[in-house]
Symmetry: D3
Subunit: 146 residues, 6 copies
């Protein structure tokens, strides 16, 4: 995976919020901002984009075009990922997708999927946290990691 | 409630971490740090202490003694709190205390208590998140807010 | 204006991102997060909601329902605002709305409106910063504050 | 004391770093930035200015003129300050000014003055931390708060 | 390019602000601070220095001398930069230097130079943002990237 | 040294504070949090673990088990460290351990050890900063780096 970064001291937050959306739409694995303190008392922002190695130039160029950056620095990081599966559980509010992560076969992560929970929360007009809790309660024993 | 604050640019993080502990031991309602950027390129820290109005001078003095601050600023904030109750639920890992918050009688918050979950996680050598999930699953219907 | 705040150490970022949206949809004047460092090594979040005084209870309740907060603290702040007007300028990419701020009659703020610029940037497939620059260039002399 | 704040999502860090300098030159008691996370994925900045009550309008106006803000919110905070004195101590690198803070007559703060230490550090070409340490070692017993 | 970093939990913000200046004077490509949360409730600071590979030892040593760090970690990052040119544009406030960035010959960045704008803003006693806007309006069509 | 990182948007601060403790107990060289701003308006946290290369898999697995992470990214950093020694100095409050750092034989770091100072501060009921200052004053000339 490539980690591409740029220290930004000459773009406004409005420009950066939009740049994040464009970078995600273009297929970046992840995009995030870190608050940093730069020279001359500037409250800067570190823009970080994670992408596949084959996409490094594409995303570097997009970073340069959509922000005020004159340069990008990049390095390679190794990824270690859980094997992912998806399941569906039935809650009082409706069906929820659950993302499951396995390490050497063992379930170590069981996460209600955000978009799936958000949809039900809006339909049922209940707090999102209630849909998450309902999902955890509705999980079959085979998915429990406790 | 009193909010007492001081911008710190002359204490090290070691001193501040210790000051947080002392302030909590002395009975502050809450203590927290916010990263701030001060003049002359200083990566400062805002120390905030929440306390009862009758304790304002006690905590201001402790802030002045334990950090490098020469001044404290204080203002009053109104508190709006949920009515709290505690319950106990039985999980596969043992008993967990649960904190319940009610708004006009309705349950709006049901939180596994951290220290209670931490103890079981350490005893059972399972992740803390698993004890939280087990607690949510073990809750009786009367405490559900979904 | 009311400033309503809560220190959050028991909700995940997913829950908080959704809460921001709900609070804005419900009409909050502004909603923002500040990273704070809480006791027991917790990387907490300060949730701040700005609202009209008459809405203080409505938003406090929504904060309690949508996050894990058990309490809200509130204080009153005085607002000092520029008088706002809107104008339209014609750029090579299309029409852009501009927000103008006056202080004692004098123009002190001239800001291309984000949503208006975003729309043109997407249509023309040019960087947002280019639409902002084009808007600044297209402004009539009467709106210049230089 | 007045605390005057504005959430900034439309000024670049360059503009804000300069605004900090202008506000300090104009006599603000303190000026600092806090990183905040605003709507639409914007990495915003909270600009805070502390000033005397009689200066609130002067600094509010300067904040509006030097940044992209359309509004300022203000509230009053009470100050509690140590009584300040200055002393001079003789170090191997030269004379250093020391700021002393007393609480009910007792010394609770003894701080080498930054500008005074910086000057010696530059002249002697030694690290600033070494000048601070030399100053602490050179203090007369009457100033010790241990 | 070398990225050299150190987690600081035992230097005060005053010491760090001065260290930033010394590192920049010594020729670092960039220096910045990131707020981090370290063990034992310490509000630490990550000091990052960017420099040429041939300067890695020089800057590591300066970091060790000017802060409380006992260790530095370093890794190599690849740089991708726009080709830079400078131009001069004539504004109502005077001449401004503009930094231009090209990607495969195409102009993708046109930035008013901070120091050049700051000088005019101070001379004319107008907000810095006004000089930036005047510079954007004064740019010749050949430099436009919209 | 291995730097192992994960962007967390689905664990609460309570879970993360506990994870930091577990990772440190398991022998990580350092563990810290950085506030980051993730997509969908999420106030995320970057968890960073530093460890020996031979421990990379052990700590990656622990990060996956104790947080909600589905993936870890890792890269190698070179370490440059001062040679460390410990000394004991006698202060009015008792004995303090001091950590000394040498670069090419020269003393560049002399740091009172936190745990040693904390113990005396608690016993003597004096501020921690006073014990630090007393330690600096009590150092023998051979350890001075000024």
């Amino acid at each position: 995976m490539i980690v591409a970064e740029s220290n930004i001291d000459d773009s406004s937050p409005e420009i950066l919020g939009y740049a994040m959306e464009r970078l995600l739409e273009a297929g970046a694995l992840d995009v995030f901002f870190t608050p940093i303190q730069m020279k001359k008392n500037r409250p800067g922002v570190l823009l970080t984009v994670l992408c596949a190695e084959s996409d490094a130039d594409k995303f570097s160029e997009l970073m340069l075009r959509e922000t005020s950056a004159f340069g990008i620095r990049r390095y390679t990081a190794e990824r270690r990922k859980l094997r992912r599966e998806f399941a569906t559980v039935q809650t009082p509010h409706g069906e929820v997708t659950v993302k499951i992560g396995r390490l050497n076969g063992q379930v170590v992560q069981v996460s209600p999927e955000f978009e799936s929970c958000r949809e039900l929360a809006e339909q049922a007009n209940v707090p999102l946290k209630a849909v998450y809790a309902a999902t955890i309660r509705a999980m079959p024993p085979s998915l429990l990691n406790d």
